[in-house]
């Protein structure tokens, strides 16, 4: 009983669909053994996230679905609960590659919308076919086509930069070359992202060389301030309320599961030369306490002044590579502290096309 022959047995496989129940109970078990039970029913939050319908219930402001019909005043979405009709506020803003009128949205578009009031029917923000690619450029084909590595957990994406966006993106990302970081927002197409907006400014260092965080004496400060960003769902449910945490426990989490493709000695022209394993680059420029999938974080959008308890649902190690600041409202502290799901980002009052908000995080709710 006392010998550990199979430690990886406990590894948090973030893509394991059988695991949500195990992760969901963690906050309950932790509260039982440490005796710290918040007034919020945290276990409910996570349990609700474990299936698509439950995730819908945990969202107060956000709805995701596919557009079935749209008029200037009504949006019909196919959601996890079936067909739903939403009145559109007169002042509502819509985005599809840029600001458009709601009527300009198209049938079949994947949309994420925000209600004006929690649980209310009226919509005031609509994003259609919005996507984001964040990672290391590993190949460039011509002036406008990039292959981007988003880290071992997320894989690789193709980014195309159209002539209309080239100037805007190159102002913030002057080095569109292999080995440098990129973070762009745009329109999702089958197999690629059409980059339209730079989500941050390009760090001056190469992807594998983020600056080290200052040493911390005593305990890690709580709360921690920094930047919160969002990522596309990937294999997660599109309406998942959660976040990818940059500092999962390396002993039981994705650091073990992640493996970079092997580099063949002498094969200098392959893209692997430029791929960066974010787990091997240190803690990044903000030191965060180690947590696990299922840990609860109370996250505050300092710009919208909204707070939610959000569970850690996946590994966000790629966020460690970015030592940037968010300037949505004032200038945030350096470093990304949370990589939210799209639904969580919208739920907290973030604007997806802006890409980030200044955030404050408390561990454990």
């Amino acid at each position: 009983m006392r010998h550990l022959a199979d430690i990886p047995r406990w590894c948090d496989d973030v893509t394991d669909s059988a695991s949500p129940t195990r992760f969901a109970r963690r906050s309950l078990l932790r509260a039982a053994v440490l005796g710290r039970r918040d007034e919020s029913d945290f276990s409910l939050i996570i349990t609700d996230n474990s299936d698509a319908d439950g995730a819908d219930r945990s969202l107060k402001y956000t709805v995701t679905g596919r557009i079935l019909d749209v008029s200037p005043h009504i949006l019909v979405l196919h959601t996890g609960r079936g067909e739903q009709r939403f009145p559109i506020a007169a002042s509502a803003e819509a985005w599809r590659g840029g600001p458009v009128s709601p009527a300009a949205l198209r049938q079949g578009d994947r949309a994420i919308v925000r209600r004006r009031h929690p649980g209310g029917p009226v919509l005031d923000r609509i994003w259609a076919e919005i996507g984001r690619v964040t990672g290391t450029i590993i190949e460039r084909d011509g002036p406008a086509s990039l292959l981007v590595d988003e880290g071992p957990a997320k894989g690789r994406r193709i980014v195309l930069i159209g002539p209309e966006a080239t100037g805007r993106i190159q102002v913030r990302f002057p080095r569109l070359e292999p080995g440098y970081l990129i973070d762009v927002i745009g329109l999702k197409h089958d197999g690629y992202l059409q980059a339209l907006i730079p989500a941050t400014s390009q760090p001056p260092y190469r992807a594998g060389h983020p600056p080290a965080a200052p040493m911390v004496s005593g305990h890690v400060p709580d709360p921690v301030s920094g930047t919160a960003v969002w990522h596309e769902p990937g294999e997660e449910p599109v309406n998942l309320l959660g976040l990818a945490y940059p500092a999962l426990d390396p002993e039981t989490s994705c650091e073990h599961a992640a493996s970079m493709p092997p580099v063949c000695p002498g094969d200098q022209n392959t893209v692997e030369e430029w791929a960066v394993d974010p787990h091997a680059t240190g803690s990044g420029c903000v030191r965060l306490p180690y947590l696990s999938v299922g840990s609860l974080i109370r996250l505050r959008n300092d710009c919208a002044e909204q707070t939610r308890v959000v569970p850690v649902t996946s590994c966000g190690a790629t966020a460690r590579l970015f030592c940037d600041r968010c300037v949505t409202c004032g200038t945030s502290r350096k470093g990304r502290i949370a990589d939210l799901t799209m639904a969580a980002f919208v739920e907290l009052g973030g604007a997806l096309e802006v890409g980030c908000f200044n955030a404050t995080m408390m561990i454990g709710g």
Binding site: R9, R25, L29, V33, V216, V220, G266, S283, P289, I363
Partner: protein, 285 residues
């Protein structure tokens, strides 16, 4: 006096070269060491970096040992030619280092020199470049020097020590690593950031009194879940208590010696914290 100054250079150069070797080896051997965040190999293509780092390590090791090996007489013979070769090689090595560091400073201003492994992460400045310049001059000063001998008088020994102390102080002034060493000596990483193998947590748990109290209720050989939050690692075992399935949860504080261990028992079906055995038990071992 001039001879004393020249004689001090040989052990000093050898110590610097071997110290750099040790620091590089320490970084390479550490299982979770950060990759070359800062070293001259970063100037080269990725596939060349490792061979170049090995080459630098081998050259430093060879020169360091060579300086020691050719410094004194063995019996009646003294290898004059090898001594000259090693000392000339040392001078050339540091001359090349000056050139490389200057190049790095211009091309990668955010990088450290990597001269002493992880300790050399401070961006390269003029002081960092001046250090190999000084060592190059030291190596040139040793050319043509006869075999080293013990000081013939206390006065000569004092002169030796004075020269050594002055030069060490000068090198310390030119070394950004010294500040890093001082910080690390007085630094203890917070428990939230400290890596702790699961095996050590389990060993601490199995040696604790909460474990002994609840071990009889545990029904499986392996835990059903293990995870970490900040300074605590949680271990859950399935078990039976009062005839019903329970989850026995242990929380182990992540410190190396005498960690606190707490336990709780929950009904596996209802998540109810069970009566007297389910109340939180705490023990600092």
């Amino acid at each position: 006096m001039l001879t004393a100054i020249r004689e001090v250079q040989i052990p000093l150069l050898a110590a610097m070269l071997l110290g750099a070797c040790l620091a590089k080896a320490w970084r390479a051997l550490r299982p979770h060491a950060h990759p070359a965040r800062s070293d001259p190999a970063g100037l080269f293509l990725a596939h060349l970096r490792r061979p170049i780092m090995i080459l630098v390590f081998a050259v430093e090791l060879g020169l360091g040992l060579g300086l020691f090996g050719t410094a004194v007489k063995f019996g009646r013979s003294w290898p004059a030619l090898p001594a000259t070769v090693v000392r000339t090689g040392t001078a050339l090595f540091f001359l090349v280092a000056v050139r490389v560091l200057n190049e790095m400073r211009q091309r990668r201003p955010d990088s450290g020199c990597g001269c002493f492994g992880e300790l050399s992460g401070t961006p390269i400045g003029l002081r960092t470049i001046a250090r190999p310049g000084l060592l190059c001059a030291s190596a040139v000063a040793t050319l043509g020097l006869p075999p080293l001998r013990m000081p013939s008088s206390p006065t000569e020994a004092e002169l030796w020590l004075a020269v050594l102390a002055f030069e060490l102080a000068l090198i310390a002034f030119l070394s950004p690593e010294l500040g890093e060493i001082m910080v690390r000596l007085g630094y203890s990483e917070p428990c939230e950031l400290r890596r702790m193998p699961v095996g050590r947590t389990m060993s601490a748990l199995h040696a604790s009194s909460p474990w002994r109290r609840y071990a009889g209720q545990v029904s499986a050989g392996m835990p059903s879940d293990v995870w970490r939050e900040g300074c605590w690692r949680f271990v859950v075992y399935p078990g039976y208590a009062r005839g019903r399935p329970v989850d026995i949860v242990f929380a182990v504080y992540l410190q190396s010696r005498r960690p606190a261990v707490r336990a709780a028992v929950l009904d596996a079906d209802t998540d109810e914290v069970l009566g007297p055995t389910g109340t939180r038990e705490s023990a600092v071992l």
